[in-house]
């Protein structure tokens, strides 16, 4: 966590292989992410990482369930299978009946839960979440966080989350402080 402009999103983007750091190494599963070619990093992001952003990641033309199925479709899963897998997430996240809605017809919390389902549907090893509750009120934000933590635990997905809100950071097992582009709080492992 850290204040706005501190560089936490940049750090997240570096970790996720979106950006290449000017110096330093990023290791994932023993491989140097920063040394990979863009296409390699893209497929890494597509196949082994999931993403949740603050807002606006749902493609407006697609229904909610299609949006969730998008990562599967992108990795070449057949449409029917992708949609049925995506549909399973709706009950799990308390979104029953919203499958056919467009993103414009969803509330912020609903849209964010759909986004969460999209981030997790491909069973990624790591889920990168950049201010996933930033556009939500505290209660909705906490609901989303609850779902995120439980779903990730159930699935064995590591979550790397960027936030400036301490209450959201408190869901984490471990936090890293970023200020002025530096990681400057000692790691503490709580459990």
């Amino acid at each position: 966590m850290g204040p706005s402009g501190s560089g936490k999103s940049t750090l997240l983007h570096c970790l996720a292989g979106i950006l290449v750091p000017d110096s330093g190494e990023i290791l994932f599963d023993g491989a140097r992410v920063d040394a990979m070619a863009e296409t390699e990093r893209s497929s890494l992001r597509r196949d082994r990482f999931g993403f949740v952003f603050q807002f606006g990641q749902l493609v407006p033309e697609l229904t909610a369930v299609e949006n969730v199925a998008l990562p599967l479709l992108l990795s070449g899963v057949r449409r029917t299978r992708a949609l049925s897998k995506a549909g399973a997430w709706f009950e799990r996240l308390g979104l029953d009946g919203l499958e056919q809605r467009r993103s414009g017809e969803l509330s912020g919390g609903q849209a964010q839960r759909v986004a969460l389902a999209r981030g997790l549907v491909a069973e990624p090893q790591v889920l990168f979440a950049d201010e996933p509750t930033g556009a939500l009120d505290s209660l909705t934000g906490e609901q989303v966080m609850d779902l995120l933590v439980s779903a990730a635990r159930e699935q064995g997905t590591t979550v790397i989350l960027v936030t400036h809100e301490p209450r959201i950071a408190a869901y984490a097992d471990r936090e890293v402080m970023v200020r002025d582009g530096r990681v400057n709080a000692p790691d503490r492992i709580a459990s």
């Binding site: 204040p3 609850d146 933590v149 809100e165 301490p166 209450r167 950071a169 408190a170 869901y171 984490a172 097992d173 936090e175 402080m177 200020r179 400057n184 709080a185 000692p186 503490r188 709580a190």
Partner: protein
């Protein structure tokens, strides 16, 4: 709010008369509640008794102001310990936190690090409360929320202060 430790901290800047200590205390930490002279002197004599301060040259004349107090190694160690250790993360801490930050700045100590340590302590507590909330009943959750929101407020204050340490340093160390 710990008056003895604050006075000790003020003494660590330089040996001072009781009157100077009261004036500085009132200026930075009193905020409408001036420290009575009586309390200043009783506290100082208790500190002297415990060997945390010594009285240097007593000037001629009468009255308490003739005495100049100097902090001892024992006293300095206690100030050091107090500053480096985080306060127990409980609500309504800002006065203590504030005193610690100001003193740290006056003493040219790493105030930012103190704040970081404090933030970690707060976050750890928040994490515990969040676990309680997630696992427990609604009543537990609501109580935990109460704590969480107050801790969050403290954390915000810590952030703000952390961001303004340089300005504050100029203010307390003319």
């Amino acid at each position: 709010m710990s008056v003895p430790l604050t006075l000790l901290g003020l003494l660590e800047r330089e040996p001072s008369h009781g009157y100077d200590l009261k004036r500085d205390y009132d200026a930075f930490f009193g905020r409408g509640k001036p420290l009575p002279f009586g309390q200043v002197y009783s506290t100082l004599s208790r500190l002297a008794r415990d060997g945390k301060v010594v009285i240097s040259d007593v000037a001629p004349g009468s009255g308490p102001d003739r005495k100049r107090y100097i902090i001892t190694d024992v006293g300095a160690t206690e100030v050091e310990q107090w500053l480096t250790q985080p306060v127990e993360p409980e609500p309504h801490l800002q006065t203590v936190l504030f005193a610690k930050v100001v003193l740290a700045l006056m003493l040219d100590r790493p105030a930012g690090e103190y704040l970081d340590t404090q933030r970690s302590a707060h976050l750890r507590r928040m994490r515990e409360l969040t676990e309680v909330k997630r696992a427990g009943s609604l009543v537990d959750a609501l109580l935990a929320d109460h704590g969480l929101y107050h801790l969050e407020a403290d954390l915000r204050w810590i952030e703000m202060t952390g961001a303004r340490l340089d300005a504050l340093r100029k203010e307390v160390r003319p």
